[in-house]
């Protein structure tokens, strides 16, 4: 286990380095820079700003300087938001995105698994068709439409929930539902498919022949097996949800990290692009590692580091 962790962490560092380097090169390959504006700055002023941020130096030199910085944990200053460092921006906005993401993850998992199990237990019943209908809808309708519909019905027609900002629990309902819709629909379909498959297995017949109740069969014998593919999916899903969705944050005016990620690219805010990309990648790597460590606790056939059977 210890050896396995060391190996995985070393791998993670290599992955992170590759991501930073590629992002750095791509970023500099985009024409323009942070201080290229519609309204041309006087050349001397532009030159002196660029000199302040060492942007006048060759790319390889900027790269080594930047790498030296981030090893110390400093993501550098933002070029656009004067006086704020990238560390500040992440520290300020990530907690908001994380709350939103965690809420959406819980809703998507609980709702999706329950809906999937119910429809698998009564295949081709009206409830199964209902779940299938809504999950198809959830997967195919874009987030911004789901968000807009929720805002319209639950914000204006029946003004139950606030439709913008992030000030307390009631503010979280609509954004969390909007963000959870797609993964919940996906999880419902995944659970339904695997559950139906699992219910046809011989060991379920054995469980029935033992005289176990329907609840025991579903809860003790079927669910654990049916949920395995869902667990594999949680890793990337959690990272995606935690880092926030630009769309949801924009619709509901939530001061999360997703907004910075997208605007930083328009702004050529090099340090923010790099810093946020790196932060996202670290989360993806961490969640995948977490899932790989948790997986063997649920499926004993898989031991950490290698798959059997």
């Amino acid at each position: 286990m210890g050896m396995y962790l060391v190996k995985r962490l070393t791998g993670a560092i290599v992955v992170m380095w590759a991501i930073i380097t590629i992002t750095f090169l791509l970023m500099h390959a985009i024409p323009g820079g942070p201080f290229t504006e519609e309204k041309k700055l006087p050349p001397q002023i532009k030159a002196s700003i660029e000199a302040t941020y060492h942007l006048d130096r060759p790319v390889w030199q900027q790269y080594t300087e930047y790498m030296g910085q981030i090893v110390k944990g400093d993501l550098g200053p933002s070029y656009k938001y004067i006086g704020r460092s990238v560390n500040d921006i992440v520290a300020e906005s990530f907690p908001v995105s994380a709350q939103l993401g965690f809420g959406a993850l819980v809703v998507a998992l609980v709702g999706g698994v329950i809906a999937g199990v119910i429809s698998a237990l009564r295949p081709n019943s009206w409830i199964d068709y209902g779940v299938t209908f809504f999950s198809t809808l959830g997967i195919s309708v874009p987030t911004f439409i789901i968000g807009a519909v929720l805002v319209y019905w639950l914000g204006f027609v029946w003004p139950i929930f606030p439709v913008a900002l992030w000030k307390g629990p009631s503010y979280m309902v609509l954004p969390i539902l909007t963000l959870a819709a797609q993964p919940m629909a996906f999880i419902a379909r995944l659970t339904r498919t695997t559950m139906i498959e699992v219910l046809q297995q011989e060991y379920i017949k054995t469980a029935r022949a033992k005289g176990l109740s329907q609840f025991q069969i579903v809860w003790h014998h079927a669910l654990g097996n049916a949920i395995l593919p869902v667990i594999t999916y949680i890793g990337p899903l959690a990272a995606a949800l935690f880092t926030g969705s630009f769309i949801v944050e924009t619709i509901f005016a939530i001061p999360g990290l997703g907004k910075y990620f997208v605007t930083s690219i328009y702004n050529r805010d090099y340090t923010v692009i790099l810093g946020v990309t790196m932060f996202y990648s670290a989360l993806v790597v961490a969640f995948n590692l977490l899932v790989d460590i948790v997986y063997p606790l649920i499926d004993p056939r898989v031991t950490v580091g290698r798959r059997r059977d």
Binding site: T206, R208, K210, L212, Q214, G224, N225
Partner: protein
Amino acid sequence: MSDIVRVKGLHVTFSTFNGPVQAVRDVSLRLAAGEILGIVGESGCGKSVTVQAMMGLWPTAITTVEAAEHTVLGHDCRSFTESDWRTLRGTDIAMVFQDPMTALNPIVTIGKQLEEVIRLRQKRRRSDQKGAMTEGIAEEVIHLLRQVGIPEPERRRNQYPHELSGGMRQRVVIAMALAGKPKIILADEPTTALDVTTEAQILLLLQKLVREEGMGMIIISHNLRVIARLCDRVAVMYAGTIIEEGSIETVLTSPAHPYLQGLLSSLPESATDGRLTAIEGQPPDSYHMPTGCAFHPRCHKAMRICARITPTNSNVSDEYSKRERVQHVREHQQTRECPHQVSCWLYRPEVK
């Protein structure tokens, strides 16, 4: 002798994409306490379907199970729902499944899978007779595992199915059926996955339990040696029906049905000139059953009537036995009230 299982005219039909398939046609069986009934037949002849239908395991959505009579321990099971069946399963009627690789839940330890049955039994027995609750589930799990010959049961019970060999898993499956202390065991090829030595041990164990506890057992096998060693009576199935039935001695020493005659003469022991004989042809396709007797296309004694009308059960007459000069163990037949019956036109005097 009172029967603990009685089935008359059982039909099992599956609805499939290609239309209905009659897997079991007009099967009648009975089982007495302390008796072992063998069902033999080739793969796909409906043995497993029959016994699974006997404990209501077929989902009603895709299966039609019909019977003129279906009683288990005095309960009329014809109109049983899933929850009615549940009250009998495990503690009254239990099943040993065929494939130990798939019959155990891969993510639950074998100890836990056994415990479930023990708990269920304790719960049910407690409501039946107050104060009869026995504690010590862990001890009982260990005892059961030891009983079926699993070494180091204390360690094994915490293991998962994938950590056990096929033979070990098969024993766990058997232990699971025994855990409920049922009155009826339906064993679907319980020893197919085992080597010959283990097979003998398990068969002896099952036999001992049936005799001592007064259980009844139906055992499915395509291994005639297993059947010969273990059973009191045997039913031979072909294409979804029972074609011959009787005491083990009678049926195996003086087979009446041409199919069983062919089957027995294809055993290596019966090879006379160093070559094995075989039954020509293939078992019929369940979508296109032959008319009349299902065996007639492969039967070298087939008559015209065989292709037109399905023969019904009839006793093999003494006259035939004498004429064919076969040895009957007639005294045995009489004491066990177990007539030698066959579904074949050859034994119907009216056809002659």
